[in-house]
């Protein structure tokens, strides 16, 4: 067995017991990258030299007997919208093709202080806008399960790299499903944490009130380990929440009495029959193990997508206004005056999807339309939150499909934005309500593509999500294996 095939927690244990070195593990990962990256195209930048130096440093520390974090020496990949000091951070956009941040995101500082070995920066939809990773300016990442399919988005590179064994763990960001949906498509585990539990400082903002950084791994325990390493109050992020952040575990062996809510709106027409079948079967397994399943209703779900697109686009239009060719990144070659420079820079630097959302956001905030669109969407956000609050009075967790379908073909939805947006139908409500949710694999469809089950909890109940997800994982054969990529 190759080292890269281990789970992160298995590697962590081997490193601690000196059964292998961080340098060996890191080399193994880079050998794997060498082997399959040409097919998967998950990375935008590979930082091999720095990674090997860091791995060597960690091995030396361990040799000296220093107390190290569980993630010390574990190779981790980072989505390219998370700022890394001295390392190109492009958001997969032409606009930031040359941007090298002079600062680290808080999560990067935290991971560095715990001796992370960073393997590189991972591909994504431009500025995290998209559900297929096809909106990257630089490359199209493929789904390791089927190279003609998309890995999902926007954190497609983060999901594909973990699934293909090109890294042990990765960080993504989730604004409307951008961690959970690619985790589902790529057959791995992904967590969208409670809003405010992971610092957003240094995450290039898409929609500030919805964005959260979260971990990917090939098993629940890996995800719990990485989440433990990144969560916590940060004084650089005014929206980060002060509360107790324990070290999370994933070894639950008993779910008797667990109350599971199944919202009927998430099992309706828009959801693929095979997906419904797989998720329902998974819920039955949990029921057999002693959980209590209840049918519930979250009536505003059908309208959540509209509210999501208004709020996220409005915030995006404002957050992306700073890209103007003055301070960093792309500037158009020739121009006639300031406004022409602004317009050409922004039109050439942004892709179509980003432009579409900037214009939608500008429109809903503009004079005369604010109340009819933005304000109404904010009211809807409140309604959706209230519905979840009510639902959690009667159940401990809510289970839904993560995505309405499995990975689709590259190019299949690019021409129809509304169809593409519908991919987020099961995930956006969680962001709107600021809740935590985890996606765990629950079988495959007839095409052999993975199906994901979404487990949603009340705010700050990540431990409960890890408990249920790890219980289910143990029930169904344990951690996911590295996907065989035909080369």
């Amino acid at each position: 067995m190759n080292l890269y095939e281990l789970t992160a927690t298995e590697l962590s244990k081997k490193l601690a017991s000196k059964d292998c070195s961080a340098v060996e593990a890191t080399k193994s990962v880079f050998d794997r990258i060498e082997e399959v990256e040409g097919k998967v195209e998950a990375y935008l930048a590979v930082t091999k030299e720095e990674a090997l130096n860091k791995a060597k440093e960690v091995d030396e520390k361990r040799a000296k007997g220093e107390a190290l974090s569980p993630i010390a020496g574990v190779p981790i990949g980072i989505k390219d919208n998370i700022c890394t000091k001295g390392v190109l951070t492009t958001c997969a956009s032409k606009m930031l093709y040359s941007f090298v941040p002079p600062y680290n995101a808080t999560v990067i500082d935290k991971l560095c202080s715990q001796d992370m070995v960073m393997t590189g920066k991972l591909n994504m939809d431009e500025f995290a806008m998209g559900s297929s990773c096809e909106n990257s300016y630089f490359k199209k990442t493929k789904n390791p399960h089927n190279l003609s399919c998309v890995p999902g988005g926007s954190s497609g590179g983060s999901a594909a790299a973990v699934a293909a064994g090109e890294v042990f763990l990765s960080l993504g960001s989730d604004t409307g499903g951008s961690i959970r949906m690619p985790a589902s498509y790529c057959g791995i585990v992904g967590l969208k944490p409670t809003y405010g539990s992971v610092s957003r400082y240094g995450l290039v903002a898409f929609a500030s009130s919805l964005d959260q950084i979260g971990p990917f791994g090939r098993c629940v325990e890996d995800v719990a380990m990485l989440y433990s390493a990144i969560c916590g109050r940060d004084e650089n992020d005014a929206t980060s929440v002060i509360c107790k952040y324990p070290r999370f575990t994933a070894n639950c062996t008993d779910i008797r009495g667990l109350r599971i809510g199944l919202p009927k709106e998430y099992f309706g027409e828009g959801v693929d029959a095979e997906v419904k079948k797989a998720v329902t079967a998974a819920v039955s397994e949990l029921e057999k193990a002693g959980a209590v399943v209840k049918q519930i209703s979250l009536p505003s779900t059908d309208n959540a997508l509209s509210a999501y697109y208004i709020i996220s686009s409005a915030e995006a239009s404002s957050n992306l206004a700073r890209f103007d060719g003055v301070k960093y990144g792309y500037r158009t070659e020739s121009f006639d005056g300031l406004i022409d420079m602004y317009e050409k820079t922004r039109s050439e630097g942004f892709g179509d999807e980003v432009k579409r959302r900037i214009m939608l956001g500008t429109f809903v905030l503009s004079s005369g339309y604010y109340d009819a669109y933005y304000k109404k969407a904010k009211l809807f956000q409140k309604r959706i939150s209230l519905e979840f609050e009510e639902a959690f009075k009667g159940c401990d967790i809510i289970i839904t499909p993560t995505a309405p379908d499995t990975a689709f073909k590259l190019g299949e939805k690019v021409s129809d934005p509304v169809k593409m947006y519908a991919s987020d139908i099961c995930t956006v409500t969680v962001n709107i309500a600021g809740l935590p949710a985890i996606s765990v694999p629950c079988g495959k469809d007839s095409k052999g593509l993975p199906v994901g089950m979404q487990i949603i909890g009340a705010k700050f109940t990540e431990q409960k999500l890890f408990d249920v997800a790890s219980f289910y994982e143990a029930l169904t054969g344990g951690p996911q294996k590295v996907v065989h990529v035909p080369v």
């Binding site: 919208n81 998370i82 700022c83 951070t89 958001c91 930031l96 941007f99 941040p101 002079p102 600062y103 995101a105 957003r200 400082y201 240094g202 995450l203 290039v204 903002a205 929609a207 500030s208 009130s209 004084e235 650089n236 992020d237 005014a238 929206t239 409005a314 915030e315 239009s317 404002s318 206004a321 700073r322 103007d324 003055v326 301070k327 960093y328 300031l338 602004y342 500008t362 905030l365 503009s366 004079s367 604010y370 933005y374």
Partner: protein, 478 residues
């Protein structure tokens, strides 16, 4: 046709906090370009704002000083527009819920008290600066000022002349100084103004169309800008032209304004709640502490000085302008050994002259209220002359010694002994026989000349009042 001018002001005052409003950069004027900046105040990708506690406190204090309702649960909003001095392309400000609103301030204009409504006070960040150099084909951007904390104080359209606007601005400025929340340095642009002007026929029920003027720096500039704009509108109306709702730019050098944009081109700022910041909550305890920290304010002080001590409006205004001087004045008055008016004259006269020469405040000298009032009381009693008082002042400014001791050491006591003074007077009259004739012919001003001669002969120690009486009695006997 007589017209009335209607003026409303938006004052932007930079706060003197240690750090900027949303990051820990030093809040300082000047410095080499782009040396006082960080990824946060320049809005680099991924960075987030964190609100400075002191900014909220200062703004609440100003709110109390201007009799506002404090919205102690409020939020911030983004105001979007593209301009090179605004690195995020939005300014973090406050839109529908300002920290303070519904206030007023009383100002004195030519002896009359006038109440000016204060619509709102909100907190926001300042923008950077554009530098222009003809030798270079582009414009240069310096972000040092980005994120300097501002409060915007918006008045009601309650002022009816440039004089009222001036009085309002002077009052706002001295209140900011009393609260010690702004440096108020005009030349450094720490207070700036947007001016709204309209005119209407005297007695009209409705205001005329309002024109906004930007780029008004300094208070004398404000007066000129208002007068120019009012005249422009009156002339237009007299010609039968219409006034358009527009924004104009004031050029202080040319003394003119120019159209910047018409109503149709009005900016669409797309305000919406700042999602990177949470709810501002100032708790009741803190509110009370801030409210209790407000001192008696200069406008109130001035009015009290006029009514309680009978000081003239203008001089009372000068006195309260400097909080330390006003406090010193009050200490002197409390000793109750001389007239407040005499204290005022000494403070605004010789004391101010000495302070100006030394470019310092009273606290930097050794002058005490006790010594100053004793010195004044000695003059009042005729023990020393006014001139001798000045000599005493020069000493007690630098040493805490009693005026009596100074008088004794320097031999400054006045001669009030009638026989000694009579001898001098006789001598002077003998030498100036012609002046007695002149006096009797009605040239009474020769008396002053004779008093002066006697003073000189007494080496300044003769009591001029006594001398005058003696001289008169001698003349009459002649």
């Amino acid at each position: 046709m007589e017209y009335e001018v209607v003026v409303g002001l938006e004052v932007h005052a930079e706060l003197n906090t240690k750090t900027k409003i949303y990051c820990s950069c030093k809040n300082a004027f000047g410095g080499e370009v782009n040396t006082n900046i960080c990824p946060k105040c320049t809005g680099m990708p991924g960075t987030l704002p964190t609100l400075n506690k002191q900014v909220v406190k200062s703004a609440v204090k100003m709110g109390y000083a201007l009799n506002c309702t404090i919205n102690n649960v409020c939020k911030q909003d983004r105001k979007s527009y593209f301009y090179p001095d605004l690195p995020k392309a939005y300014q973090i400000s406050q839109y529908d819920i300002p920290l303070c609103e519904h206030g007023y301030v009383d100002v004195l204009v030519n002896g009359a008290q006038k109440r000016i409504g204060v619509t709102r006070i909100h907190i926001e960040e300042d923008a950077g600066k554009l530098l222009h150099d003809d030798s270079f084909s582009g414009s240069l951007v310096d972000f040092n000022r980005c994120g300097v904390p501002l409060i915007e104080i918006v008045s009601e359209p309650d002022m009816r002349s440039s004089a009222e606007a001036k009085a309002y601005l002077d009052t706002i400025r001295s209140i900011l100084q009393y609260l010690d929340i702004s440096d108020c340095k005009m030349q450094e642009g720490s207070i700036r103004c947007d001016v709204n002007v309209s005119v209407m026929k005297k007695g009209a029920e409705h205001f005329g169309t309002r024109v906004e003027m930007k780029n008004v720096n300094g208070f004398s500039g404000t007066v000129r800008a208002i007068e120019y704009e009012a005249q422009r509108q009156i002339e237009a109306l007299e010609k039968g032209e219409e006034i358009f709702q527009e924004t104009r730019r004031w050029d202080d050098v040319k003394g003119k304004n120019f159209i910047l944009r018409s109503k149709e081109d009005a900016m669409d700022y797309r305000y919406f709640p700042e999602p990177d910041l949470g709810t501002i909550v100032v708790d009741e305890k803190e509110l009370k502490r801030l409210k209790d920290s407000i001192p008696e304010l200069p406008n109130k002080k001035q009015m009290r000085y006029i009514s309680e001590y009978g000081l003239p409006e203008f001089e009372a205004g000068l006195l309260v302008e400097n909080i330390e001087k006003a406090h010193f004045f009050e200490d002197c008055v409390a000793l109750n050994i001389c007239e407040p008016k005499n204290i005022l004259n000494w403070l605004l006269g010789d004391v101010t002259r000495i302070l100006n020469e030394r470019n310092c405040e009273i606290s930097a000298t050794r002058l005490t209220s006790k010594n100053l009032t004793h010195m004044i009381a000695l003059i009042d009693k005729g023990i020393i002359s006014n001139t001798a008082g000045k000599t005493v002042l020069e000493v007690i400014v630098d040493a805490d010694v009693s005026p009596e001791k100074v008088i004794e050491e320097k031999g400054l006591a006045q001669i009030s002994d009638t026989s000694a003074l009579e001898a001098i007077a006789q001598e002077i009259i003998a030498a100036n026989q012609k002046s007695i004739e002149d006096y009797k012919k009605g040239k009474t001003n020769v008396l002053g000349f004779l008093v002066g001669q006697c003073m000189r002969a007494s080496k300044g120690q003769g009591n001029p009042t006594v001398l005058r009486e003696i001289l008169l009695s001698i003349i009459e006997k002649n």
